[in-house]
Symmetry: C2
Subunit: 359 residues, 2 copies
């Protein structure tokens, strides 16, 4: 209904998902609430800001960290009463800066709301959309932070070699599905784990993993890894931490590498269960490397070129799980922590109709 | 009494410390026993072996790993009923191979006994002893495996930079005392921890650490590290694992490095308490690298040249704890695990008298 607003009326409704207050355990839908405020569809002159209509919002596990009252992290916590923030794909509807004009498409950190006034853009990138290009939402996954995490993590952190035995957890997720495909095309043997039969099927039959298993159906993770990796694991791409990391540590080969980009299994700041097999790092000379994609941003252009062409050549595929509307955004985010999503979780604010990039 | 044996009698007593059987927890003196057997002071012709008189034996924490019935490690377990094995400095008393002659001094893996017949030498190195050189026993510490562990670990694993904040555990031990001195001469700020007031005094007043503290007198390791490292830790050289590693993880700086060469705090193969703060590796992009000096042996000649000259120039010192006689060897080894030793623990089999290198 707001589509015509810029022309006819300056003030419109702005639906938003507001953060209610700090949490300790796993996020719940009730930690967020839907609110409707008004917004003037104008970037005030002289403010150096621009106004965007948000088209797609990204649900990423790291966002849970911003729901905690913990200021020692690489990213500050959310502000209670303010909208959730995260990566988005948006369209400029008014602009006070010459670099961005009405109609420009961008990816950036935006608010979980219909319209956001962006005065201090973070991780802002212009999207050059051409015919036959990837879907816009892929700028939150394949071509966005998760895709770049997979790329930087696999190629820069894991020191992969042809023939390496590679294990990927959360393998059907936004990052894992790409790590597995990168590893396969690098000549590695790749096994993934995920939490449902549907995901295991996708890993084996759509994403090209050599093997895959449902960790929820395995009585003993250590024994399962020994079955899938009788020679041991060279590279473990760890998206989950916890028990899976502990089991992998026992099964690593000498000089194995563990890249850690998230510990989605940890529901609070303290890992109650603990990691018990870390002693393996000495005898096996294991390297455990935590990393964030933001340390590798100089590689982003190369990544974009590589991955875009691999995708167009059909060498890689990307699976998305799209929820519709801000009404379903909180549930979509919360679902990440029980593994409800299949593939990269995105929230579309476009509604039905033609591709918003050509509106 | 055996000194003249090679000339007058071919068969002499050979006192030895025998490994009784596999253990689970920390080693006890009763896990070993003294035994006297006979030995012919001759390397049988055609066997390609040589016979050594052992002068100094090394007590090292890794040896506990060989007391466990665990065959998946980088080094096989001891054989019950056979002597303990470890690094030693020895003198050739008979030889069936041309490369080593009677009177040659060597460091090698030898038996905890007076004489050993060496048929398949491991880690064998000739010692070129000159006037004013270092004491022979230093080939088990400063110039041996622990010294090289400190050298390879600090320079090759820790990626040190001038001005880095460096934390060393077991800092008065065989490895730690050198890591601290290397770090100081590299322009780092160095804090060490050890388990007694005497050791803390040595760290501060003899080994040149900027600060040192007795971890046994600290109620909260995390708080102690925050006091000594208000800016956080760039490099943690971990000799102990366990609670100290957990506390260090919380206090690491972004892009911090943790070099792990041993986990002396673990008394069994499974870490019952567990590591609870590993989640820090992601946000802080921490690298945890297990290593063994044996992977860096191509650097040994450079190490020997560097460390020998630094020692002769008075730039580094080395503290040894010497026990006398095989009768005290088991107690000396067991003492490692309660921190009884001050500095590198060595067992001398030389008895009183002149330097054995000139006998």
């Amino acid at each position: 209904m707001e589509e015509g607003a810029t022309a006819s009326a300056l003030v419109v409704d702005n639906k938003k998902v507001v953060f209610k207050g700090y949490i300790e355990g796993a996020p719940k839908e009730t930690d967020m609430e839907l609110r409707i405020e008004n917004i003037e569809l104008k970037a005030p002159k002289g403010c150096g800001a621009f106004l965007v209509k948000n088209l797609y919002l990204s649900c990423d596990p790291y966002m849970r960290g911003r729901m905690r009252d913990f200021h020692g992290s690489y990213i500050p916590p959310y502000v209670p009463g303010q909208p959730i923030q995260g990566f988005g794909v948006s369209k400029v509807v008014d602009s006070d800066i010459p670099e961005f004009k009405v109609g420009d498409l961008v990816s950036l950190i935006t608010g979980w709301e219909e319209y956001s006034l962006i005065s201090q853009p973070q991780q802002l990138r212009r999207i050059q959309q051409h015919e036959h290009d990837v879907p816009l939402s892929y700028y939150l996954g394949l071509l966005g932070m998760p895709g770049f995490t997979a790329y930087a993590g696999f190629y820069e952190v894991c020191s992969p070699k042809k023939g390496d035995y590679v294990f990927v957890s959360a393998a059907a997720g936004a990052v894992g599905q790409l790590v597995g495909q990168f590893a396969k095309s690098h000549g590695c043997y790749v096994v993934g784990t995920a939490g449902s039969a549907q995901k295991v099927d996708l890993l084996k039959n759509k994403l090209g993993f050599d093997e895959a298993f449902n960790y929820k159906e395995v009585a003993n993770l250590d024994a399962a890894l020994k079955r899938y990796f009788p020679e041991g694991i060279d590279i473990y791409f760890d998206n989950v931490g916890g028990e899976m990391l502990d089991a992998a540590l026992v099964n690593m080969r000498v000089h194995g590498r563990i890249a850690v980009c998230g510990m989605v299994s940890l529901h609070s700041l303290v890992d109650g269960r603990g990691i018990h097999n870390l002693y393996n790092v000495v005898g096996k000379r294991i390297r455990i490397q935590g990393f964030l994609q933001s340390d590798y941003l100089d590689l982003y252009p190369r990544f974009l070129e590589h991955v875009m062409s691999w995708y167009k050549e059909g060498k890689i595929v990307y699976i998305e799980d799209v929820s519709e509307g801000l009404e379903n955004a909180a549930a979509a985010f919360v679902g990440l922590f029980s593994g409800r999503n299949v593939g990269k979780q995105v929230v579309s604010l476009c509604g039905p109709g033609p591709d918003p990039s050509i509106i």
